[in-house]
Amino acid sequence: MPEVLTPPRQSTFTVALVGNPNVGKTTIFNRLTGLRQKVGNYPGVTVDKRFATIKAGEHEATIIDLPGTYSIYPNSEDEVIVHRVLNGLDSSNKPDFVLAVVDMSNMERGLFLVTQIMDMGLPLAIILNMSDTAEEQGVKVKSHALYQSLGVPVLQTNARSNQGLEGILEVLSKKMFEKPEGFLASTDLLPASLSEKIQQRFDLDNQYQAYQLVRFYENEPTLSEEHRNWLQTEIEAAKYNLQATQLEETQYRYRAIQGVLDKAVTKTDLGRKRLTDKLDKIFLHKIGGYAIFLTIMLVIFQAVFAWSAMPMDLIDGFFASMSARAAGLLPPGVLTDLITEGIIPGIGGIVIFIPQIALLFAFLGILEDTGYMSRVVFLMDRIMRPFGLNGKSVVPLISGIACAIPGIMATRNIGNWKDRLITIMVTPLMSCSARLPVYVILIGIAIPESYIGPFNLQAVALLGMYLLGIVAVLFTSWILKLILHFKEKSYLVVEMPMYRLPRWKDVLITMYSKSKTFVLEAGKVILAISIVLWVLASYGPSSAREEAIAKVESPAAGATDEQLTTYENQIASAELESSYIGIMGHFIEPAIRPLGYDWKIGIALITSFAAREVFVSTMATLYSVGADVEDELTIQEKLNSEVNPETGNKVFNLATAFSLIVFYAFAMQCMSTLAVVYRETKGWKWPVIQTVYMTALAYVSAWVVYQILS
């Protein structure tokens, strides 16, 4: 009988990657997983969950990159994730093993987190990373001695130079994780009788887990009311003082770690001054520091525009010619119209964003990666405080220049709720990249391409729009600070890591994955809206349509070509006006006429509510409908040539263009942002307030601008 070959049994397991911030955790994750990583969500929060499944020997290992944290006691939303995942409260992400990354030059604080995880009873392995910096600072670690005192496998790596990665893979493939004995005697932390009762009721392995539950039960959504009440009664009955115990635990732990380190770590004072300290003298200088910050921002701004201009022109032109070619190749008909007038311009409207978004994400990645971002926090904290913001608000606000969504998600590391909420509320006022194409097109129409001295007038206007966004942010947050009252006190505790050269590979991976997420998320909405729009613009109630067409005078026999063309255009515009979307546009026209808009712009406003970048594709679709696609006009040219049939003036004159620019600067026109605000604030209250105040601000400002300019 032939032998039956059975494939080697594969097992899959989940490994959580944990560690302090700035210990090179993400570099290790990138090195292990490359482009296989995916971004998902943790249930209930929007914190990006980065994970990837890799082959480790005969196994499949899913690695989850958890946010950096100093302790398993969360001080911010970011750290709540770590606590939930490690405690197994998040059932879909329960890790089988933990890989704990420790900065070798700062073992003490790294081990603080590691020993907490040990006490929870999770099998783990320790990676001592950044051996190069440790060496520079005269720190030597005897891994074996450390292994002996902790009972957990220890390996040394330097992920930046790829050293020791094989070691990590070996740990994964051989599952060389060990479940250590508890590090601290938990008897000191919780009265034995209370601990036993809790362990029994919740089926917990050890005392430290029981202690964890005491620490968290009040805010734990997965616990039933009954459990919570029971815990409360028991804890009160035991006269247990949690706060004092926690402070004691922290001190015990550090003391015990010191004991371990005395045996395993040798430090020689090399008497060298750290390069970081020298650099900080420059970057944190009272005047120079701000000048450098401003210069960096201006350089980034300039580079994003200069470098993206050419690819954007190419993309714009490419899609225009693609429409023309498709129209030539395909047989005329409804489907062809949908492709050439709806889908292709719609996709083009998304793709054109990629160069700018990718560049912005890349620059932000570099600022973060080099360690400069936390210096910005230091420099800006005192300046932001009078406005009810926080030094840490600067990071979300700067990210908001790329996109409000990552910006709002970046507020998670602001520990204070009031500061965080205000930051969330104002971040969408920053000029995001979705506003850019709108600004570029409208500024191109409203302002001639001329120079004042060395400055391009259009570029100055664009810079002005960014400044306007910043002014709006400060003003609004100041108002919010006066209105909102919370008991919690504002604070700032921020580590300033060592400066490092950016890791280009990491920057590229971040740029790639963030741009991809953004384009796909925004792309779905835009594409869907483009198609819906085209349908609404191409069809209408049949009776109204016939009436409108009948009103157009048909040319006499023997009319010239010119007369025939005019006739065709009149028919097309009559058709558009009597289409469903035309009717909708006319419906809101009275409300927007004081702002200088006609019904076509009204349509764009309606569709832009989903996403403001839709403005461009809407305009493209609306002005392409019936137009000759073979003209290959870019959107800007189409808009500029649009004439009001009644007055004969250009539709997009200075006043209307500026009024529109201002409207787009302030209005909340982004469903994705609203969804993120909903999730981050856990309710509809704040997103609704945000939409109302932003729309009101947009309407009033646009009205004022139009009335002044017209």
Binding site: F112, T250, L492, V493, M496
Partner: protein, 75 residues
């Protein structure tokens, strides 16, 4: 007793006590523990926030938080 915000640049100080407050735990977890040495590196304009060296790391605190750390100066 001086608090950490009163350290002069170049002086070395030893942490004596963390004043009990809501932030005590957070400060201790970051490594501000009695017996540890710290020094002051930078003050932002308006003397706030302040960057401290603690062991091998640099941590910035607001003046109000620095006032929660009581220190004694070394000669």
């Amino acid at each position: 007793m001086r608090t950490a915000d009163q350290i002069h640049i170049g002086e070395r100080a030893t942490i004596h006590r963390i004043v009990p407050s809501e932030l005590s735990l957070h400060l201790m977890e970051m490594g501000f523990l009695p017996g540890k040495e710290m020094s002051l590196l930078h003050r932002a304009p308006l003397r706030d926030p302040i960057a401290f060296r603690l062991e091998n790391t640099v941590i910035a605190l607001r003046k109000a938080e620095a006032q929660l750390i009581e220190v004694s100066l070394e000669k």
